[in-house]
Symmetry: C2
Subunit: 355 residues, 2 copies
DNA sequence: TTGTAGGCGTTATCAC
DNA sequence: GTGATAACGCCTACAA
């Protein structure tokens, strides 16, 4: 590509060596020491402008790209951050990943991704694999992990952020919301609207502990009002089917629900579609409420009342807390009582037609 | 965590060094040379079982995690693969990323992600950033790149896979489908159903060249049948709004479309929702067709006829071709005429109610 | 089958 | 402000 490159860099690739121009090649061409090149690339202010220009020319002439692997080894802290999410492609976590990745990319960090599929064991494997890359920080989802994972994280000595959940007085950095509060929020909304036989439908995915927290909040509100909590766990594995199954069970028995809170919008959508076939009038006969505000939720007929989690904000906050912990940016945000920064985000109840 | 660890590994972290146990610590504890440990970790069959067991014990006792950064530097080919996609969180690319990431993770590779937002410049930046990690391979989206990107890729000397597109006689490895054929597929379907005034609505995102290929296929079919091609480019930036705008323009003028192909399901969904408010009977008065088969497309009323791209298959195929090129797995798949393997995947037309 | 020597490309340290 | 030197932790090459 560049003719000048061929003069100073041996063409072809040997068994060893990347074949690319190194910092030494740049230093030689610029007539300076390689450490000066390194300094110029990091803090150009520490190098005289005369040398700086010669170095800049050499970099361009050789098409030099710094080897970050070597840099990571030398400095013992590479610019890599590992992130474990339950899944990459779901409507929930994708915006978090997007925001997290973009924010860290902007600061010169690379994000490594792994999916746990709600399995603590897979999460632990992913964390172990990440540790091999000497990451600058790690991100996991939720606050429930295996003993092994907790040991690995504690021993790692690097900033760890837990996303998509929030519990007070927890030592790790968190970026999320309190799921129990969200359950309370949903149940209050329905109770205030006059519904009395309110059921909660769980996720068919076993490892989704956050949904259980929401259920607890829901149960607390019902107890508060002297109402019976009523939880249903569908058997069908596919979410749409599970939603249909739940609706059938909860509306066909002797006791009939007049409102149902679902663990997520997929379940709620399954129920909503089934309601049309079953001739159930939503919300008059039975109100339906989801969680997640998936992209389709506003498009359904009737549109789905649901709760919108701060997916993008979680990703951004997690990235910002990491950059702060690494000294890349100045800390920011409201203080909490114990001197930390507030990491509690809020969920928004999106009132539509179904409840 | 492990008591034995504290005996041989100095506690605390110095300026230099990760603070973790190294291969030398393991070797010392096991009473062997460090190279033997390295060999055992890679090909345990090349080490006698006696030493192997001692090494395994030492690894466990020290909680040793190999430093992949150092390994990557020494061997000049780290187990990292870079992937550039237009965006991470969209319904289209997320399943590709998921499948790609999971497949490569299973083989001990880590995927680095970057989003280009359909900008060639951002794509080039991402490729340049990836190159610093000495990746084993790179994946990009589509076959249209900046000169700079092409130069970087060509000079990299590593396997490069282009996803989400396919053109015959192209030298790079591809994993995708032919967008032009998809446009033909859609237009044929509508022509065969008797529609005659068929319009095509473009994406408001400027860099989405694949949609233009589909439009060309559509135009070819119409020309074939002596019909006028009719392309509309919405001004509204948000896809739902753009879809509504397109429907209004194409059905309110003197010439009225009897069928519309949209560049993606978001646009089509916007039009579908608008059709209800406008009192347009879909598909009798105007048929609507999308592309992408997003999760909501089957839930709309009327449900959206669309084309489902092989999103997961693209990710898997890309991963497999990379693993093949790196000698990690055996090549597989049908041969093409020129001795290569067939990388052309198919799209499925999903016939629903809207067309 | 096992070990020794040296290098991978960069940065921390210390001296000028 | 600039540079020489020695790590960083592992792997390739070669020798025993």
């Amino acid at each position: 590509m560049t003719d000048t490159a061929d003069d100073s860099v041996p063409a072809g690739r040997k068994r060893r060596g990347s074949g690319r121009a190194t910092i030494h090649d740049v230093a030689r061409l610029a007539g300076v020491g390689s450490i000066t090149v390194s300094r110029y690339l990091k803090h150009s202010s520490q190098v005289s402008s005369a040398l700086g220009e010669r170095i800049a020319h050499a970099v361009k002439a050789l098409n030099y790209v710094p080897n970050l692997v070597a840099g990571g080894l030398a400095s013992a802290r590479g610019r890599i951050v590992g992130m474990v999410v339950p899944n990459i492609s779901g409507p929930i976590f994708a915006p978090t990943i997007q925001a997290f990745n973009d924010t860290l990319n902007r600061h010169g960090f690379q994000v490594l991704l792994a999916s746990s599929y709600f399995s603590k064991e897979q999460e632990e494997n992913a964390v172990r694999a990440f540790l091999g890359w000497s990451p600058a920080a790690l991100v996991v989802t939720g606050r429930f992990h295996s003993k092994g994972t907790e040991a690995l994280l504690a021993a790692s000595g690097i900033p760890v952020v837990e996303t998509w959940d929030y519990a007070p007085r927890r030592k790790t950095i968190q970026a999320g919301y309190a799921n129990r509060e969200v359950g309370i929020q949903a149940a209050r909304y329905l109770v205030d609207k006059g519904y009395r036989r309110i059921a909660f439908v769980q996720n068919s995915v076993a490892g989704d502990f956050s949904a259980l927290d929401r259920r607890d909040g829901y149960a607390a509100v019902l107890a508060e009002h002297g109402l019976d909590a009523w939880t249903y766990a569908p058997a069908a594995p596919a979410p749409f089917d599970a939603g249909r199954e739940a609706l059938e069970t909860l509306t066909r028995g002797r006791r009939k629900a007049d409102a149902i809170i679902f663990a997520n919008d997929n379940l709620a959508a399954g129920a909503l579609l089934a309601s049309q076939r079953m001739g159930i009038d939503v919300p008059r006969q039975c109100a339906l409420m989801g969680f997640g505000d998936y992209p389709f939720s506003g498009l359904l007929l009737p549109s789905l009342t649901t709760i919108r989690p701060p997916a993008r904000a979680i990703g951004e906050l997690a990235a910002r807390r990491i950059l702060e912990a690494l000294g890349e940016i100045e800390p920011e945000g409201a203080f909490t009582g114990d001197g930390g920064r507030l990491n509690l985000l809020g969920c928004e109840l999106v009132e539509r037609e179904s409840a």
